[in-house]
Amino acid sequence: MEMIINTVRKIDNDQAKEHIFGDEKTLKENVALAWINPENLKLINLKSNSNIKISSQFGSVVLRVLEDESIPTGMINIPVSIWANQLTGIENDQLIYKNLKANVEPSNDPVLDFKDLILKIKPN
């Protein structure tokens, strides 16, 4: 299903906060998330806490999905983080982190760990 991604800053879902107080497990639990309207969740036949694969023109990532009625239909909100950055990109030397078109589908793949994403950035 085609949707629009917005990366957002949330006080309880913050990568820097998890680096300070949490560990890699809580970082993944609290930040590798996507909020979506319950209507959209129904359309892709999924429940809260399932995994979804989101693909934009810049890349793709698997995230745990949570339903949130405050999100308009057709939109996904993702906390600004290393996970969200798999989907954001550059156009005309501008960072694109809002209103990105993306395809969303159910996924059986696991959400990657922080370490995996660091390794993706710089393989050993």
């Binding site: 300070i20 107080f21 999100i71 939109m75 600004v80 290393i82 501008q94 960072l95 660091i118 710089k122």
Partner: protein, 432 residues
């Protein structure tokens, strides 16, 4: 008990009470969650206490001499550095950063360049009516949050501006109108009352709304009967009435409106709209506040402008600033660098993978007080004191007002401030 300034965000709240014996902070009163986080960083588990060098893929504790020698080797064996970050450092450290960039023919930029600095760049053509926090607290009757979830990004902003009475009137929240323009019903909407206006705009339609408002200001028939930008005609009319009728309105702009829509900038149109209404206004005015996140994001623009005449994206060659159209994004994306010096920021958390992977392909020198994504990729990590707690300095609040930050306690292990460390690096280069 001491009254101190919090460096948790760009609001720089100066009403935080702490109890300290000069060694530890025992109690913090009045800080929000972000502020408390900032104070708790002193003893956080990701705090970096010693210099580190990457050996066989792992960061290892080394002496300051060894770490600085490694930094010098990287600097001497390379020629195209990027210096980036600085929005979590004092103005004094930002100035040293610019001096270092000058010395090593570097390109220097702050986080502001991809955030609120964009507003400054656009305002070069249009001008901009700014205001101060005191003016907002005491005199503003209409607050507009445009693409800004203030309750989560600057948690005490609404407490200080919407719910305050002000020095010059006997009324407070009851005469203030809050307008929020956002596609998402963020937690900031939770403070809205009956006289407020919630505008759930369609994503990417800010430009359309601003153009409708501008047309209506000029011709009185600019609002289409079916509305626009996902909003109905009545709501758009109400918004314009509030803007035109306010004695003192302020528009607080967030990240949501910074990106271009189509090939046009909503910000430029917004600045023109403000100008247009202010010219037509008989009794009031509208001002704008750029809401950045990091506590001294505004500082770098001021320091760079006063030092070089340019507020961001400074490229030095042979000790001089040269003309360059490069930005931090184009420099990294075109791989036009051979090492980076990152100061007080984690680009891995806010830059796209496309840039992070290019950044990580070259040596990274990190100056910061905590471990983060970028510390996992850095070749050398130099720890520093936390500004506003373990060392003092100057910072510019989100309303562009300079605020002096005090040292409250001594840093652990006698860690240097960012300013002192950058100075040490410059001295080492001078000696070689």
């Amino acid at each position: 008990m001491d009254r101190v300034t919090c460096t948790g965000c760009s609001l720089l709240c100066d009403d935080i009470i702490i109890r300290t014996d000069g060694l530890f902070i025992d109690e913090i009163i009045g800080a929000c969650l972000k502020g408390k986080e900032r104070f708790e960083q002193i003893s956080a588990k990701n705090r970096i206490m010693d210099p580190l060098i990457r050996k066989n893929g792992e960061l290892e504790k080394v002496s300051w001499d060894d770490a600085l020698e490694k930094v010098l080797t990287i600097i001497k064996t390379s020629s195209k550095p990027i210096l980036y970050g600085f929005s979590n450092s004092s103005c004094e450290a930002q100035l040293k950063g610019i001096k270092l960039a000058k010395k090593i023919d570097g390109f220097i930029d702050s986080n502001s360049t991809i955030c609120q600095g964009k507003v400054l760049n656009i305002s070069r053509d249009t001008g901009m009516t700014l205001t101060t926090m005191s003016e907002i607290i005491n005199n503003v009757d209409t607050l507009i949050l445009w693409g800004l979830n203030a309750a989560e990004s600057i948690p005490r902003l609404l407490n200080k501006t919407l719910f305050t009475r002000g020095k010059f009137r006997m009324t407070g929240r009851e005469i203030k109108t809050l307008i929020i323009i956002d596609p998402v019903k963020s937690v900031s909407f939770g403070v809205m009352g009956p006289r407020d206006l919630a505008l759930f705009i369609e994503p990417n339609k800010d430009l359309e709304l601003i153009k409708i408002l501008k047309d209506e200001c000029c011709s009185s028939n600019g609002i289409p009967s079916g509305g626009g930008a996902g909003l109905d005609e009545t709501d758009i009319k109400r918004m314009l009435q509030h803007l035109q009728g306010a004695e003192n309105a302020v528009i607080l702009v967030g990240q949501g409106i910074l990106t271009t829509q189509g090939n046009e900038s909503p910000l430029k149109e917004l600045l023109e709209l403000i100008d247009l209404i202010n010219l037509q206004q008989k009794k009031g005015r509208i001002s704008l506040v750029m809401v950045g996140g990091h506590y001294n994001m505004a500082g770098f623009d001021h320091v760079a402008l006063s030092e070089t005449g340019k507020n961001q994206s400074l490229q030095f060659l042979n000790n001089k600033l040269i003309n360059s159209n490069d930005s931090i994004v184009s420099k990294i994306n075109n791989e036009d660098f051979d090492y980076t010096i990152i100061v007080g920021t984690d680009p891995i958390s806010h830059l796209p993978y496309q840039l992070s992977s290019k950044l990580a392909s070259k040596p990274i020198i990190l100056i910061d007080n905590r471990k983060s994504g970028i510390s996992q990729l850095a070749d050398v990590v130099l720890p520093t004191a936390i500004t506003g707690i373990e060392c003092g300095g100057l910072a510019f609040r989100l309303d562009q007002v300079p605020i002096e930050l005090k040292k409250i306690i001594n840093p652990p292990n006698n860690l240097p401030s960012d300013e002192e460390l950058l100075d040490q690096i410059i001295e080492k280069i001078n000696k070689k």
